[in-house]
Symmetry: C2
Subunit: 419 residues, 2 copies
Amino acid sequence: VTTLYAEILAIGSELLLGGRTETNSLFLADQLAALGIPVRFKTVVGDHEEDIRQALQVAVSRAALVVMTGGLGPTTDDRTREAVAALTKRPLRRRPEAMNSMMQRLAQWGRTASPAQLRQARIPTGAVVLNNPVGSAPGFWVEWKRAVLVALPGVPIEAEQMFFHEVLPRLRQRYAEEPRSVLRPVTRHTFQTFGLPESEVEQRLEGVFKAGHKGIGLGLLASPRGVQVSLTGKGEMPQALLDAVRQRLRDWLFAEQDQTMEEVIGRLLTEHRLTLAVAESCTGGLIGHRLTQVAGSSAYLDRVVVCYSNQSKVELLSVPEQLIAQHGAVSEPVAAAMANGIRERSGTDLGLSVTGIAGPGGATETKPVGLVYVGLDGGAGEPVTKEFRFHGERDTIKQRASQAALDLLRRWLIGRNSR
Amino acid sequence: VTTLYAEILAIGSELLLGGRTETNSLFLADQLAALGIPVRFKTVVGDHEEDIRQALQVAVSRAALVVMTGGLGPTTDDRTREAVAALTKRPLRRRPEAMNSMMQRLAQWGRTASPAQLRQARIPTGAVVLNNPVGSAPGFWVEWKRAVLVALPGVPIEAEQMFFHEVLPRLRQRYAEEPRSVLRPVTRHTFQTFGLPESEVEQRLEGVFKAGHKGIGLGLLASPRGVQVSLTGKGEMPQALLDAVRQRLRDWLFAEQDQTMEEVIGRLLTEHRLTLAVAESCTGGLIGHRLTQVAGSSAYLDRVVVCYSNQSKVELLSVPEQLIAQHGAVSEPVAAAMANGIRERSGTDLGLSVTGIAGPGGATETKPVGLVYVGLDGGAGEPVTKEFRFHGERDTIKQRASQAALDLLRRWLIGRNSR
């Protein structure tokens, strides 16, 4: 069985410099994989006609489909049109269909086309013009030798919309004749874990692949929010393999696919009809920000207080001053008192707290940067607390601490479930 | 003048799928640009020996320096070593210097090398072994034909540390003989703006380039936190150009280079010796999270409260219940009352507030998703408020709202400055 491969060419000098991550290729890779056309190479090139031409030539020599993004704008440093024209020897002509849709779009915004924008309607001869549903720059689709070349704008929302409306239907039609074995979609299943180092996750998964799982790739990706395990292969993932992975990851597995910890928490709180209030210190609002990323979180999240000063811990959470004086603000008893204080003050079912040292300053002889205490008050008995010692920069420690707090809450909610 | 070019080859199947952004190449491009070696192409390829070999061959044909990242780990899908050996015809041999440093590293962690890890010490004959200061996988440097090939690990912190300790000194030595005109560093100056659409920023900058600014590129990048303007060119940026850009961007310019809005706020509050408390609603803690990303923010940030429920607005901020009943929680009077309430309750100099509808739910006939009010109480006279109507998804609206609130505070602090 031969395979159809795609290649992505992202065009733009800013993509070759630091400070800018390119997201179009991630979206396109996912979309193409779902169609059964895996991406084998991805190239980033600056706004130089000769470099774009060279990269295109290499791409066409090894892929059946080349999707370009960027370099279609109105300014003179947008060179994608020229590079394609030079490579395919199909001169640029101003095309009425490109003009019309561009004028319409600009008219909607109450504007007319500037001379620079007229450049955007110049399209290689013989190419199909792709309408831009959200911006002014048209794209195009041109077949050359045995390859299909597609040019999309660089602005993510424009690339996405043009892909869905103009490219996807044409790809389906173009490859409709291919045997089904070729176009079997690439599937990917991801497992999100927290609490185990990468090496231990790997050990746990050792030998999980059996005969019959050939061609399925395993990937591990560590971040401050945990280790992600991914399985990738053509066709459907074997259920037995998914189950085996689940079993080995046990309750370190908090979510599958793209679900986030905050979404899991939202689902569990909703199921149990419980309300939550949070008292943060070193995480500075990150837990609140994460919980409120979930649409509808106002149904279970009552409030969050970020108590950076000791005084605010006393005032807003009724943490006894003497407790802070005796144990310090970063301590197990203070974490417990914060969880209890926020729960009682808010009248919610649950109170979650975090106190710690995010660094780089604030460490003492006995309390290093990265020391974090998490507390949870469920209303019956003493609050649960847990100590963590994290490493890394300020943001890394904040991220890990927020995940640790939400994971403690998740485990408590699951435990409650099984009682 | 000929130019030395570099090419980056990022290796890893996970980099070709969605959900994963690759950051090593951004770091490397910046470092190489500072050395005067611009990156001209960047290629991403999966963990397939033949694909890596092909990509390497193309890279070597057009660049003097090829930096690879990834594919050096212990598992059998790490194929960078094999691909380089196949291309250069220099067979892999287990190298004592690679073994020693790997064993030392593992011993520090109280571990010994697994059979799989021993693969990591197999390095192409004639290559220089690059020590890994933070992980177990060694890298290598090999010269082939007229190019230098450098292989670094994929884990960002390992790639960075190995680059600084092992690669940078060797690059300096290797290219010491090149004329200075070749190695003139690429410099980049960025300006961060908020409050103007991209097209208006572009209009304001029209004609800012004069004769003598040839070879300097202008880039615009829009995000929910504003529009970034960048100038890129070889050698020093002309001061007159930087000043002209500053003048045209006026007070929409809030920071330059990598400085963030939260860092600007931190600097201004520190300069004015003012303390701050924040009351958030729709931003859910994001403002607190951002302010506390700045080390030392505990000196001026007293507390943040996220009042998701109306009750919490009444209890924690003394917002009159009747005011909410009359105008709704998302309204100018409530934003003002929140700012005043948090300032008075905390005893800080300043109180900042946000209330709005982040969506997708919560809209009414008169109040659409994206309607946001920001309030600021400086202690004298009525609080300042401002209305915004944002578009986008929940996270986009949260990001824009947080930036709008911080920008209002910034403008107030600057105004105070000039009085």
